[in-house]
């Protein structure tokens, strides 16, 4: 472990060092360099050859460093899929490779959302699965037999290398080669990106960031050259992005924004016209080929900006054309006519949109954020504190504004793009933690620009200036004046900062982002390690010991894992599309046993699975999530579930004797603490029935279950599974001796004749 740590550290250092030195050497190519070109070529016979060799080496090392620093989890544990969503992706990739592509597109999954089922083919972004399936197919074609799981595990680290290369290409277009290399090194190891792309985290974001960066590179390239070739390339890359991640909306808004800004800055050119027209039309058609996206690009308001800018660009180009053809007077009348017409059209559209309610989308989003607990309950949807910014980006977050400054000061078409990218991404990252991911690449690029321009001026050796061309000497002398001492101090300190960055990145990756969360590890006082493999133990038990069609009820967090590892039918899972179904499960968990039994009977539940951390002190268990279940259930069933019932009169959530009786008798509490009270005594300092997670002695130790029975409890009690008893036979009537009382007189009752007429 330690060896690996230092090894990857060394790589980081070498790569950032080398990046720095190359940006010093890379001056001849720099468009914004300070003009002293030509001096370098004397020393080296073929500088271009050296440069490309160095670039290749550095990019290769960056790839290697990025790949190996993502392997912590694999080395510590094993090659395993992490977390929750990746299990679904893995399961569908498995389905794809065993049943073929068309079967996958038409897949109706009857094992999820029982009894509703889920149409998987039409509700996923298939890019990730298709990519993994394709790699698997090619490898098998070459007789490299690997299991699809290994392809899935190592997909994200491999793609991080591709991201590094596309970031290099993009930054080279924006600034120069040196900055590009630095940016590639940064993005290879920056925690903000590693958080979503460690080995085993088989998720859309892993490949989407590559697609994002590559699309942007091709876009900048096509704006620069104005060739249809690059624009078509950009469309194809955009198509890949659409197929991979819902974040494509960011691209389809940022590129029009760029075009619009360029129009405002009067930087319209034929190149821009060709690039955007091609991109919009072909990209639109391509993006509509993804079943999940469908007709959204021409219907929803997120895509309207692109259409509007397209129309504007056509109008602008048309006006430019007319300007050449008409006299000034004619042009003016035509212009006013056109503008008033356009204004009228825009006005009518706005009215139409207001009435159909499309433009209320942001309002509805805000409403949803406040009122639907299921959105609020996901921690990724929270705003970002400065600590998370610093944690994920370290020195880059303080230096990238400098890069932005340099870009705006030396503005050109593509730097407008990067400035807009930075500002919009930083806004979104501030609103939501998970969008830090889209900010990370631009931060890497701009920071690289800042560092590169510093290194460019301070790392350049003074030797080559000893024989400058005579006419340059006047301007060059003051630069020499800074002196080698100051220069080397600055360089040293900057390298120190970068070294700290590399160390920080490795530490964060190793400590925060490399836990599979399927397998837990705990450390003893002497540093030895215990592996807690309760999750897989329990899922495997389900797989082996239950009926193939058994239905397992659990909170939605564990739905994908149960489906993936235990291969059993679930009621709710992490694709939280049906709030009322989730609320029903939440209601079952938070009602008392007999009420819950009614719900479970109506949903055909065979087993109930819960996570309980009280024995080992695992804080992410179901009792800690319990309030969210109550809230979600309350949202749908306000008459039956009331959040305030689960609090003490003082407004506290307690599991001990002082806790509210509703809580102490609800199904979740009973299942969690069944057999926990009297029989377990974890150590001699604490009383029996002491919950280590909440540090409290539980309040209800005598728990009896009537409709459920314990089926399985894993080694550390982390997972507990209960079987729902089938309904008993009708309760037998108490046997009573027949007592014959005094004889009753039976008199025949005459039936009223009117009944029989």
């Amino acid at each position: 472990m330690a060896e690996h740590h230092t090894a990857s550290d060394c790589k980081h250092k070498t790569s950032s060092n080398a990046g720095g030195s190359v940006s010093g050497n890379g001056r001849p190519n720099s468009p914004a360099g300070c003009g002293g070109s030509g001096g370098l070529s004397g020393g080296l016979t073929q500088p271009a050859g050296w440069q490309s060799l160095l670039s290749f080496t550095i990019l290769f090392l960056a790839w290697l460093a990025g790949f190996s620093s993502r392997l912590f989890a694999v080395i510590r544990f094993e090659s395993i899929i992490h977390e929750f969503d990746p299990w679904f992706n893995y399961r569908s990739t498995h389905h794809l490779t065993t049943n073929g592509f068309y079967e996958f597109l038409n897949w109706f999954d009857e094992r999820a959302w029982y009894p509703l089922g889920r149409i998987v083919g039409g509700t996923v972004y298939p890019g990730l699965m298709v990519t993994a399936g394709l790699i698997h197919y090619i490898l098998n074609l070459l007789h490299v037999t690997v299991h699809i799981r290994d392809v899935c595990v190592f997909l994200a680290p491999v793609f991080s290398g591709l991201t590094a290369i596309s970031t290099f290409l993009l930054t080279r277009e924006l600034w120069n080669q040196g900055a590009g290399l630095l940016a590639a090194c940064f993005i290879a190891i920056v925690p903000g990106y590693i958080s979503r792309s460690v080995a085993g985290s088989f998720d859309n974001e892993g490949i989407a960031i590559f697609a994002l960066q590559f699309t942007y590179y091709l876009w900048v390239k096509s704006v620069k050259t104005g060739s249809v070739f690059w624009a078509i390339g950009c469309c194809l890359s955009y198509f890949y992005m659409v197929s991979a991640w819902g974040g494509y909306v960011f691209i389809i808004n940022l590129i029009p924004l760029h075009v619009f800004a360029l129009l405002l800055m009067q930087r319209f050119s034929r190149r821009l016209y060709i690039a955007y027209s091609t991109f919009y039309i072909v990209g639109l058609v391509l993006s509509m080929q993804i079943p999940f996206v469908g007709f959204q690009p021409i219907r929803t308001s997120e895509h309207m900006a692109a259409a509007g800018v397209f129309a504007l660009l056509q109008a602008y180009a048309f006006l430019q054309y007319l300007k050449d053809r008409l006299t000034r007077q004619e042009f003016q009348t035509l212009f006013f006519l056109g503008v008033s017409l356009a204004a009228g059209v825009v006005f009518l559209t706005v009215i139409y949109l207001t009435y159909t309610g499309e433009s209320h989308l942001p309002v509805m989003l805000r409403y949803a954020k406040i009122h639907i607990p299921i959105i609020a309950s996901v921690s990724e949807h929270q705003p970002t504190t400065w600590v998370s910014f610093f944690f994920d980006l370290h020195i880059l977050v303080c230096t990238f504004p400098a890069g932005l400054w340099f870009c705006i000061k030396n503005i050109n078409d593509e730097r407008v793009f990067v400035a807009l990218y930075a500002i919009s991404a930083v806004y979104f990252a501030g609103v939501m933690v998970r969008l830090m991911l889209t900010l990370t690449p631009v931060v890497c690029m701009l920071s690289a620009i800042a560092f590169s321009s510093v290194f460019e001026h301070y790392l350049g050796d003074d030797m080559k200036r000893e024989n400058p061309p005579a006419e340059d000497s006047k301007q060059d002398r003051p630069e020499e004046g800074l002196g080698p001492n100051i220069k080397s101090i600055v360089t040293m300190l900057m390298l120190m900062l970068l070294m700290m960055f590399a160390v920080h990145c490795t530490w964060v990756t190793s400590n925060a982002y490399s836990s599979p969360s399927v397998v837990l590890a705990s450390y003893n006082h002497d540093g030895s390690r215990n592996i807690l493999d309760d999750f897989r133990e329990a899922y495997y038990w389900l797989r082996q010991n239950t009926d193939e069609h058994a239905r397992v009820m659990s909170w939605w967090d564990y739905g994908y894992q149960i489906a993936g590892m235990a291969n059993r039918t679930t009621l709710v899972d992490n694709n939280t599309w049906n709030n009322s179904h989730i609320a029903l499960v939440g209601k079952a968990m938070s009602s008392n046993e007999s009420a819950a039994y009614e719900i479970m009977k109506s949903l055909d539940v065979d087993y109930v699975l819960i996570i309980f951390g009280g024995v080992i002190g695992y804080s992410g268990d179901d009792i800690n999530k319990f309030l969210w279940m109550v809230r979600i259930a309350e949202g749908e069933h306000p008459k039956d579930i009331r959040e305030s019932d689960y609090f003490t009169p003082q407004g506290e959530f307690r599991v001990d004797k002082a806790g509210s009786p509703t809580l102490l008798n609800c199904l979740m509490y009973k299942m969690s603490y069944y057999r926990f009270g009297p029989y377990t005594r974890l150590d001699f300092r604490t009383p029996p029935g002491f919950d280590r997670t909440r540090n409290a002695e539980i309040g209800n130790k005598d728990i009896r279950l009537k409709h459920l029975e314990e089926a399985f409890t894993s080694e550390h009690w982390l997972v507990r599974i209960y079987r729902v008893k089938k309904q008993e036979n009708r309760q037998a009537l108490d046997h009573k001796l027949r007592n014959i009382a005094a004889k009753q007189k039976y008199t025949s009752k005459k039936v009223l004749p009117s009944l029989f007429h």
């Binding site: 300070c34 705003p383 970002t384 504190t385 400065w386 600590v387 910014f389 610093f390 944690f391 020195i395 977050v397 303080c398 230096t399 990238f400 504004p401 400098a402 932005l404 400054w405 340099f406 705006i408 000061k409 503005i411 400035a419 930075a422 500002i423 930083v426 806004y427 990252a429 501030g430 609103v431 800042a450 321009s453 510093v454 001026h457 301070y458 301007q475 003051p478 630069e479 004046g481 800074l482 002196g483 100051i486 101090i489 600055v490 300190l493 900062l497 700290m500 160390v503 920080h504 530490w507 305030s644 609090f647 009169p649 407004g651």
Partner: protein
């Protein structure tokens, strides 16, 4: 204010009535009671037709809210609105309460079954003492029959005082459904329109030299402002609304840095903003020193200042981070 003018007279009237009532109590008690109830309801209706929230002092509170013959529910907000009390929460809660009361007052379902009242601490301190209340604002519901139970005190700490939540609570306690109608807030639109017209006016006045639009420094400054605001977590402040700084109640020490990595204070985010800006400025100065053409000594100083800014403030930032993120091993 009309309520206050009428007040002594009412009191006089009420006390005379009371005395009279006491005298004739032994006679037709039941009938008098009904009469009194009708009068009370009439009085309450009259007040609430003037203002949607009825202001009460101690005597009125006892007579109309506490005293038994009642067939109407009363929601009471106990508060301290006087400026010298410095209760900013009370003012916000009062606004929400007014919104709710107005929604009820002007709704079609308005009836004499529910009244909204307010007791200010400076007008009815005795009520506070009587009810053993030591915090404001507090919302209480006095049901038509019987004494208020535990659930009749609104759980302000947990639910907050948004009028929708209050309406939900009232619906829960009294079966009166109130649809909260907020008067549309035009202030944002007006401010925007003002800003736009101001900018437009400025542009029109300076139409002869619009050079400043092309000023890159200005644009760069604006961009950096956005970036600094976001990276220092101002959006978090905006959404979560943390306090400016924390004052320890025991020893009066003011801490500007929140102890946990999950939260932050407003002051803290401002400090971080300044630190980030200083580091960026250091980087720019370093670059400036190397590229500008000027006196060598001056440039050396600029260079060293830039370097100092970067190194010093970054280590400062790192130490703040370390104090918040426990277990971070590097310094």
């Amino acid at each position: 204010m009309a309520v206050f003018k009428g007040f002594p007279l009412n009191l006089l009237f009420a006390s005379i009535l009371l005395i009279l009532l006491l005298c004739i109590q032994s006679g037709g008690g039941q009938k008098k009671k009904e009469n009194m109830l009708a009068e009370k309801v009439e009085q309450m209706m009259e007040w609430s037709s003037r203002r949607s929230v009825i202001r009460m002092n101690g005597d009125k509170f006892r007579r109309f809210v506490k005293a038994p013959p009642r067939n109407y529910s009363v929601i009471v907000m106990f508060t301290a609105l006087q400026p010298q009390r410095q209760c900013s929460v009370c003012r916000q809660a009062n606004e929400e309460y007014q919104v709710l009361a107005n929604s009820w007052r002007y709704s079609s379902a308005f009836s004499n079954k529910l009244f909204f009242t307010v007791v200010d601490y400076d007008e009815g301190a005795d009520v506070f003492q009587q009810l053993n209340m030591n915090s404001a604002p507090t919302f209480m519901h006095f049901p038509a029959k019987g004494k208020p139970k535990r659930a009749d005190t609104f759980d302000l700490q947990r639910i907050g005082f948004a009028s929708e939540q209050l309406a939900k609570w009232i619906a829960d306690r009294t079966d009166v459904q109130i649809r909260v109608f907020r008067p549309p807030n035009y202030s944002g639109t007006i401010a925007l329109a003002l800003l736009v017209s101001l900018v437009g006016g400025l542009l029109y006045l300076r139409r002869n030299n619009l050079e400043f639009i092309y000023n890159k420094t200005g644009w760069a400054m604006a961009a950096l402002c956005v970036v600094f605001a976001m990276t220092s977590g101002q959006m978090w402040n905006h959404i979560r609304g943390p306090p400016y700084a924390h004052k320890n109640p025991q020893n009066g020490q003011v801490s500007y840095i929140h102890g946990s990595s999950q939260a932050q204070f407003v002051a803290e985010s401002h400090i971080i903003l300044l630190l980030n800006a200083a580091i960026t400025m250091g980087m720019v100065l370093l670059n400036e020193a190397a590229t500008s053409k000027g006196d060598v000594g001056k440039r050396r100083i600029i260079c060293l200042v830039g370097l100092g800014l970067v190194v010093f403030f970054f280590s400062f930032l790192l130490s703040i981070f370390r104090s918040k993120y426990h277990g971070y091993p590097y310094r």
